[in-house]
């Protein structure tokens, strides 16, 4: 692919987030961080709670303002919530009063295209995540895995430049999670959106991403970056020695004092 035309590059320069705590104290959620996320890459942020992984993701999404530093998306500074950045939340965040189709249509409404075209794209997006025939179903009648598939369809249908995923499969059981990984990778390979994926599951990070940033708490920071070189598709039932070495290394890192869960 021609690198000149690629979109979805994120430049994080000295990004710092401090929260005010009671009695004038300050909490350093994220110390000054520099990070370049290549367009079209799949990046994981992994670490215990309080390590700043969600804070960093929320800063890229424009949900949390930076205390210092800058974040640029394709050279444009991030100043607030931006529809070019898609988000998949852990709690699904589907609108329960709309059907699966209605939820996807909601995302398409900002585009100036005919209703027929919107419907066509919405049906296609739901088909892509394997929900053909479930278009008129309300989220409350769908399983957790199916809900998250609707959420994937809702976000991919707008072709965002960047996709942020905050522990999207954390609430699912192990089997459903494996199925979701396959669906996500299949769609990602078709769209090649830049993905920033937050998780506390080491296997998940190694199966999905090109590169994993391991983070630590108190204060929140990146302590190590690891390239995942194994060819895709990767499966939990087919892991090589490289995978195991990487896995053991990350788990040891996360166990160190200072990386403890709070």
């Amino acid at each position: 692919m021609d690198t000149q035309t690629k979109i979805g590059r994120i430049d994080i320069k000295g990004a710092e987030v401090t929260f005010k705590a009671p009695k004038g104290r300050k909490i350093e959620a994220l110390v000054a961080t520099d990070l370049v996320i290549e367009a079209g890459s799949f990046i994981s942020l992994i670490g215990p709670s309080g390590c700043g992984k969600s804070t960093l993701l929320n800063a890229v999404g424009g949900f949390v303002p930076l205390t210092a530093g800058t974040i640029e998306l394709d050279g444009e500074p991030v100043t607030g919530i931006n529809p070019d950045v898609g988000v998949v939340f852990q709690q699904y965040a589907l609108f329960p009063w709309f059907t699966a189709l209605g939820n996807v249509m909601f995302a398409l409404k900002r585009f100036k295209i005919s209703k027929e075209e919107r419907l066509k794209r919405a049906y296609a997006a739901l088909k892509e995540v394997g929900l053909e025939g479930r278009e008129k179903t309300f989220p409350g009648q769908l399983s957790g895995g199916m809900r998250q598939r609707v959420a994937l369809a809702r976000v991919f249908v707008t072709s965002p430049k960047v996709l942020l995923m905050d522990e999207p499969f954390g609430a699912l059981d192990a089997q459903t999670r494996v199925a979701m990984h396959e669906i996500l990778l299949r769609i990602w390979e078709a769209h090649r959106t830049t993905v920033l994926f937050v998780t506390h599951d080491v296997d998940e990070a190694l199966i999905l991403s090109d590169r994993a940033h391991i983070m630590s708490a108190g204060p929140g920071r990146i302590i190590e970056t690891m390239e995942v070189t194994q060819e895709r598709p990767r499966h939990v039932d087919n892991i090589g020695p490289d995978f195991l070495t990487a896995r053991n290394h990350i788990i040891r890192l996360l166990r160190q004092p200072g990386a403890e869960d709070h």
Partner: protein
């Protein structure tokens, strides 16, 4: 289907039990039947009132008052509830005032309403809509203030304008709470309706109760009370049913 059948059976059983005990008590001689009429006497009083035409006209007049008062109060309550919950300036300007109004019972407003609007329909509408308004406003405000932030984040990150966010996210997300308010408001509409009719009216169920008191016609009073009971229960069931259908996702 079987469930519905069971419910009807339960209702019939419970009501016939009440009528039997009532009948035994009224016929026992412990208490004068002028003060505590038998079911038969109440039935006859109802037939009399029906033949006079006042049973149905009272029902119609009272229901119309309740419906008009409810509509005014409920619309204002929903509108202001959404505004006080989502628009900072409106909330700062009127929320303290509304909190001051809240503890004032509707009955206390009846004398004021009569001075302002006379004993005509105006004072009834005022008292009823005031009561309904407070219940609906309070619940709408609570519901709309409490919309999950993930819904709002999701809407904004999907590029929804503030107008779309309001109509497609805030309003449906508040709908369950609004319905709680409307159901409560419907019950309160009846309460304040009777309060308003008791003190100055020339027709309606409340007036009929007061009128029967002048002649110590307890049988007619019982007819009025039973009317209110049936009407209230039917209305509440209708609201519960409509609410369940409209905010279907709540119980899913």
């Amino acid at each position: 289907m079987l469930e519905a059948f069971k419910k009807v059976g339960q209702l019939v059983l419970s009501l016939s039990g009440v009528v039997v005990i009532w009948s035994l008590f009224a016929n026992s001689g412990f208490i004068s039947q002028n003060l505590f009429p038998t079911p038969g006497q109440v039935w006859h009083a109802a037939i009399d009132l029906y033949q006079d035409g006042v049973l149905m006209s009272d029902l119609r007049i009272s229901l119309t008052r309740a419906a008009i008062g409810f509509s005014i109060g409920a619309s204002l309550g929903i509108l202001l509830g959404l505004l006080t919950a989502r628009v900072k300036i409106v909330s700062i300007a009127i929320e303290p005032f509304l909190n001051l109004l809240r503890p004032i019972p509707a009955i206390a407003l009846v004398p004021v309403a009569i001075v302002w609007f006379g004993i005509g329909e105006g004072s009834k509408y005022f008292v009823i809509s005031y009561t309904v308004f407070l219940a609906v406003w309070l619940n709408t405000h609570a519901g709309a203030s409490d919309v999950a932030s993930t819904y709002i984040r999701a809407a904004r990150s999907l590029g929804a304008s503030r107008t779309r966010e309001f109509f497609e996210v805030i309003i449906p997300a508040s709908a369950p709470a609004i319905f709680v308010g409307l159901r409560l408001g419907a019950a309160l509409a009846f309460l304040s309706l009777v309060a308003a009719e008791l003190s100055g009216a020339s027709a309606g169920i409340g007036f009929r109760l007061q009128d029967a008191r002048q002649f110590i016609r307890t049988d007619r009073m019982f007819v009025g009370l039973i009317q209110l009971g049936i009407l209230g229960a039917l209305l509440d069931a209708a609201f519960a049913y409509t609410g369940r259908r409209l905010v279907h996702w709540e119980n899913a």
